[in-house]
Symmetry: C2
Subunit: 322 residues, 2 copies
């Protein structure tokens, strides 16, 4: 970049994701999706067992235990169910049974289960999107920790499950998903990184939050709340986009761009400058130009393509030495 923060990014094109990386990404999604599918197939099978006991479709409404599954078969997602009252769902189910099950005659169970599977497929898709995002976070964690180890910085990580700080030497790659935060020492400097933290200054949840000190106890304490409410403690904030789909690349960069602008505006109003970063897995030509230009103007402090190992190592090393 203009000011050489990342030596592997010297022009916008360096940021672009390759066709090969996209392919690898989609393949890895397919593998994971097949595995996750088992859960939903199990639900369908269990649902069929219950439904098989009924003689007439309309009787299905009477069993409150399966109301949610029936709604799903009728095209209402788990998310949407939360907005409906019992009367709404009952009316909808009655119409659904009339229109799609009774007309199916003897094969109404197949009709119902097949529709249930369709809705569960959409659910599986939603779940996969969260998984892909999680995997991106894990990859970043692993690379940050590698940078800490190479530099021999003392570090600890906060474990989501046990809710305690664990010494860096005990970290293993398969703990990556448990890492909520990392703190380290770089000489006199001490640093604290949190993932997915709601930052009071911005009033939004932010993927990557780096504090310029670690003089604070764990979350859920009043002290922590005060710590994160003080803009002086912030050093850098960033957006991480792990999706591999080129069709979503610009869409999600636009989202990230507004999120980053909100961060700058919120800290700017307090006359506080913070670094902002963007790390994405799907970077297309046009947005690469925008990202690069923002880095040159130093509106954006640093960036990297998550699929390019050298860019990623480089930004992680920069990050831990900030």
């Amino acid at each position: 970049m203009g000011h050489n923060l990342n030596k592997y990014i010297n022009k916008p094109e360096d940021l672009e994701t390759t066709y090969e990386e996209t392919k690898i990404g989609f393949l890895s999604i397919a593998l994971r999706k097949s595995k996750e599918a088992n859960y939903y197939l199990g639900l369908a099978s269990a649902f069929r067992t219950i439904v098989d006991d009924y003689e007439a479709p309309l009787d299905l409404i009477k069993n409150d235990d399966i109301t949610i599954s029936m709604c799903q078969a009728a095209g209402i997602s788990t998310k949407a169910i939360g907005y409906l009252e019992p009367k709404d769902t009952k009316d909808l189910l009655t119409d659904f049974i009339q229109e799609y099950l009774i007309t199916a005659g003897d094969s109404y169970v197949d009709q119902l289960i097949n529709r249930f599977l369709l809705s569960q497929g959409d659910a599986l898709g939603g779940r996969m999107r969260n998984i892909v995002g999680g995997v991106a976070g894990e990859k970043l964690t692993q690379n940050i920790i590698s940078a800490l180890r190479i530099r021999n910085f003392d570090f600890e990580y906060f474990d989501k499950h046990s809710k305690i700080w664990i010494k860096g030497e005990y970290f293993q790659e398969d703990n990556s998903n448990l890492v909520k935060a990392i703190k380290w020492k770089n000489g006199d400097k001490s640093r604290l990184l949190y993932y997915d933290l709601t930052v009071p200054v911005v009033k939004k949840n932010i993927d990557i939050v780096l504090f310029n000190n670690s003089n604070v106890n764990n979350k859920k304490t009043k002290e922590f709340k005060e710590f994160i409410s003080d803009h002086h403690n912030y050093l850098a904030l960033g957006e991480l986009k792990g999706g591999i789909d080129p069709a979503g690349a610009d869409e999600h960069w636009k989202t990230a761009n507004t999120a980053l602008t909100r961060i700058r505006d919120a800290f700017g109003k307090l006359n506080s400058e913070v670094f902002t970063i963007f790390i994405g897995a799907a970077i297309e030509a046009a947005m690469a130009k925008e990202i690069y230009a923002q880095c040159e103007s130093q509106e954006l402090t640093n960036c990297a393509n998550l699929t390019k190992q050298r860019q990623l190592s480089e930004i992680c090393d920069w990050f831990v030495t900030l």
Copy 2:
């Protein structure tokens, strides 16, 4: 608003979508989804018919006709298939059959079809998202045409299928989905509106594009290309977000916000000012404040909540009289 563009919006809260509207939106999605599901159930049924003829799962690979369906059952979306080469899909299918079909024994056909249904459910979800967006465009069209009729402005609409301009008097509500463009006369002023047009100045596709004259022939002509390349012809550009999900509201507003910023930046570089507008169906409290503030500062020229009939009528009337 501060400058009274929309008399039904006097404070940010006026923009917020109600719980009731959200509920109606989700219910209408469920109804439509059940209808659209038929197509995917049909595919599954046809797929089963073919698969039933095979004795052993591995033989399925040999039939190229069903490769795509097999891939879908294996978790590869239509979108992802485009990135894979035959060798990739063959390897993946071989592993898939080994791991999930052969292990299913005699019930391997059910296993395959159920997995196919899961993937088709995700496909149906994708299709629904496009439909919801289309319905929003139709609603806007209907309200714009109502405004034109109330004011007795002469207008014509460009029909997507027949690719001709049709006199306004022949417009019927059930043609709404065919309207690609509308042109009208307001006294001496003539106006041309296009939906989903790639604007060369911005190099992006924009939902709502209003030209300050209609001195141009149809699309696909060189003349049209020159017309849309001249920034002087532009009067207003807007983003329309038809989604009802509150969870997606801020996400999509962030996207729209960057899109609108790109429009202003691109025209601004040419010292050309254009009006910008935002119309959304899902508007939550925090984003309502941002939208309202942008309207007050006149960064955003006008806005409306698509679910609030009076706001919508008002912005359409403003739009046709611009």
